[in-house]
Structure formats: structure tokens, C-alpha cells
Amino acid sequence: MQITVNGKPAVLPESSTAQELIQRLELSGKRIALEVNGTIVPRSTYHSHQFHEGDHVEVVHAIGGG
């Protein structure tokens, strides 16, 4: 299954979950937020949220800014 993560293509096993992606990106335990196809995926549902072919995923965090 191919999806897009932060603008770059990524290949995941079928029915991968958000939690698996976060682990794979080594972001477990980090303060992040996740959006799939423009909709927020709450942290509490990472374990059950499954990706689909072509999903556009954004993973964001806080950085310095005014």
C-alpha cells in the first residue's frame, strides 16, 4: 500500500495502523499531531486507525515561531 507522509511517498504493509506508522517513524512518545486526508486522527485512536491506499498523511510538531 502506498501513501504519502509529509509530502513524500511511503510504502506500508496492508492495513497498517497509525500507531505502526508512528513507531516506524521513531516518533512514539513524541508530542506530535496526525492528520489524514485533511482530518485529525486523535492520539487515542492511533492503534485502531487503518490507512488506505493513497492516503495523504501529515505528521506535525511544534517548532520555534512568532
Binding site: L25, R31, G38, I40, R43, G66
Partner: protein, 269 residues
């Protein structure tokens, strides 16, 4: 004036945003510092209680163990104010705020800014109004960056923004408070806190904003790009406090001609 407490006790002089009281009237941005350690030291020196952050993509595969901004500025110590910097449409700004709320465990407080063009970074007021309506409808507590137009400032308040933040001059310009009479009109008509956001170049600019009766000043570049950011942060804290005290104390009216300070009676010459 909404929350101004006419008191000589600086500890009692607080202002309230979205139900939470703050003593520090200097709010500080965290962009453009050399590194996170300099950010931390400057924020600490400024005495700020509210600090702004930007929301951006994680650098996947990079700096895995690098410290995160929110580890250096923990949300249990500071009120973290996520901004929508870099957004040019209401849609992008709303999307950014939704991500920020998720990132900060449901925190509703956000700084809305929708920009018009890259050269001036002037606020796009029509998109700002649109975004503010959507965000207030979704129960966000919106501190909104806007132009120094008193009618638009009032409109944003009527929409339900919890603070209105007109620019003193373009973002990062350091030109100071270019239109003090408009800032004054905004302050006089407001029933939510008014903060000057953007344009401050040095300490006297911050003092002028406060002398006009603003509830606070938000700045970033003036501190971050000063030759010595930590020292400038200290100067800004004092300037904001001094301007506030001068506002509460009440300045003398301007007169065209002199008025002697020493008595004329008892002269022996």
C-alpha cells in the same frame, strides 16, 4: 478598559485572556533564535508567561534524539500559543489550528494570523475574518493578529475573538508603532485585551505600545535577532512594565510652551 486594575501593586495588575490571568504583559515568539538553548534563555529572561510556537511537519528520519521545543519550554510552565504563521488562506489557518489543538491535548487557545503577501506579511483581513468565524464556531479561543484598522478590530471582537492583536508595523520590520492614533482608537473601543503584535524594534517601541493602553505586546524578531537576545529580552520586560506603569500613572498633557518647575515666589534677585 476591560481588565485594567488601577493599582500601584504590580502583582495585582493582571490581565485576563480566555479566563486565565497573566502578570507578564510581554509575550514572546520562539522563532529565529540561534538554537534551543538561546531560545530558552531569552524566554526566561523576558519573564514571558505566554510563548508562541509554529506548527510544521516533523523532519522524518532527522534529528531523532534532538530536543523538542516543548521539552525546552514545557507546557506546564508556559502557556504555549500555537500560531498559524505562513498561512495565506482561512482554510490553511483553520487546519493548522485543528492540528495544534490535537498537539496540545485539546488546548483551545490559538494565535490566528492569515497573511496577504510575502513582501509585507500584511494580514489578509477578509481571510482572517472568515477563519475567525470558523474557529470561534469550533470553540477555539482566538487571539487574532490583524491590521491597525479600528473597525476590523471591533468586528473581530464581535465575532468572539478573546484578544485582538493589531500590528505596530510589518512583521520583523522593527519600525515601531507607526500609527499610534489607530492603536489608541482600538484600545479605547475594546472590551477584550488588545496587544500590539509585530513591528517592535527596540525597548522604547514596546513602552509606547503600553503607554497607549495596550494590555500587552507580542514580539519575536526584536529579541531573537538583537546582538544579545538575552539582554534585549530583559530590556523588553522592563520597557513593557515601565510603559504599563506610565499608562496607569497618567501622563501630563502636552503643552506648546514651558511651565516652570521651581516656584516664582521668594526670588531674591
Amino acid at each position: 478598559m476591560n481588565t485594567a486594575i488601577k493599582s500601584q501593586d504590580p502583582l495585582a495588575d493582571v490581565f485576563t485572556i480566555a479566563g486565565r490571568s497573566y502578570r507578564a504583559r510581554l509575550l514572546i515568539g520562539t522563532g529565529k533564535y540561534k538554537d534551543l538553548e538561546e531560545t530558552r534563555r531569552a524566554v526566561e529572561a523576558s519573564g514571558a508567561e505566554i510563548v508562541t510556537v509554529a506548527i510544521r511537519r516533523t523532519n522524518i528520519g532527522q534529528h531523532k534524539d534532538a530536543p523538542n521545543l516543548l521539552e525546552v519550554l514545557p507546557p506546564d510552565r508556559y502557556t504555549i500559543l500555537p500560531n498559524t504563521a505562513g498561512c495565506y488562506t482561512a482554510e490553511d489557518a483553520v487546519r493548522t489550528c485543528r492540528l495544534a489543538r490535537e498537539l496540545l491535548d485539546g488546548q483551545a487557545l490559538v494565535k490566528l494570523e492569515v497573511l496577504g503577501d510575502e513582501k509585507t506579511l500584511y494580514p489578509n483581513v477578509t481571510e482572517t475574518l472568515k477563519a475567525a468565524e470558523t474557529l470561534v464556531g469550533e470553540d477555539f479561543q482566538v487571539m487574532v493578529y490583524t491590521s491597525d484598522d479600528p473597525l476590523i478590530a471591533k468586528r473581530l471582537e464581535q465575532i468572539g475573538c478573546v484578544a485582538v492583536m493589531p500590528l505596530g508595523a510589518p512583521i520583523g520590520s522593527g519600525l515601531g508603532i507607526r500609527n499610534p492614533y489607530n492603536i489608541l482608537s482600538i484600545v479605547e473601543n475594546a472590551s477584550v485585551p488588545i496587544l500590539v503584535d509585530a513591528g517592535v524594534g527596540t525597548a522604547s517601541d514596546a513602552a509606547i505600545a503600553m503607554e497607549l493602553g495596550c494590555d500587552g505586546v507580542l514580539m519575536n524578531t526584536a529579541v531573537a535577532l538583537a546582538r544579545n537576545p538575552v539582554l534585549m529580552a530583559m530590556a523588553m520586560q522592563k520597557a513593557v512594565a515601565a510603559g504599563r506603569q506610565a499608562y496607569l500613572a497618567g501622563r501630563i498633557p502636552r503643552k506648546r510652551f514651558a511651565s516652570a518647575s521651581s516656584p516664582l515666589d521668594g526670588k531674591f534677585f
